[in-house]
């Protein structure tokens, strides 16, 4: 009995007890409602579609302009290319005449076809007397893989 009355250093609550403790649920109602969130995302979608459609139409106009410039330049480029082809074919014909001079029974510039239509030349036709690099560049120069 007397041991309980002896002053021992104990951890005791402060005099007057502890203060009030809030233990109730705290789920505040805040933020926009669900309907308004739907409305905001729907509106943002519509704005996005509208911008997309406008920009696509602008892109189409720009692309048509590019195509028109290409079409306008096409005759010039085609004429240059044709001139170059014909020049190379002529040079090849002369080289062939020089090379096959002594060979018996060889007709220079003989066409391999029975028809006398103009057959467009292939890459090998034009570049067979030159280093293979040029022919490969013409055939595969625009590719990234071969």
């Amino acid at each position: 009995m007397s041991a309980a009355l002896v002053k021992v250093k104990q951890e005791l609550p402060p005099p007057g007890g502890y203060g009030p403790i809030d233990y109730k649920r705290n789920l505040p109602r805040r933020g926009l409602s669900g309907y308004s969130l739907f409305a905001i995302s729907f509106a943002s979608l519509l704005m996005g579609y509208y911008n997309l459609v406008k920009w696509n139409r602008e892109r189409r106009r720009l692309k048509i302009e590019d195509m028109e410039t290409c079409i306008a330049l096409l005759p010039l480029l085609q004429a240059e290319s044709d001139r170059r082809t014909l020049q190379i074919l002529r040079e090849n014909l002369e080289e062939e005449a020089k090379i096959m001079e002594g060979v018996p029974g060889w007709k220079v510039g003989e066409s391999v076809y029975h028809t006398d239509r103009w057959v467009p030349p292939i890459a090998d036709d034009l570049y067979y007397l030159r280093p293979a690099r040029e022919r490969d560049h013409m055939k595969f120069g625009l590719q990234y893989y071969i």
Partner: protein
Amino acid sequence: MPFWNLQDKLGFNVDKWIAYQSSEQPLKRSGWCHIFEKEWIECSSGIGGTRARKECSLEFEDLQECVTRFKKVTRMMTILAQKKKLIKEGKYTPPEHHSGKPETRP
């Protein structure tokens, strides 16, 4: 020539575009040997196989040459072999524009 010709009657095109080169192609892009094939088909249609083999042999040979390019390649090989021989003997030097330098004209 086709027997039932369902594709024409019903209006669709399942395999006409791939049956032969000269058929209607998308974007109007013709095949490599369109003209030779067209000539051969026009020459040999309706006259039967035996007659076609006899009468249309020139067109057929042209078509074969266009597709396989055999005669052209043999010709080029002959010329190149002769050129190599002449270079070895020292009788022929290739001209300057064949040496692979980049062209300065358009």
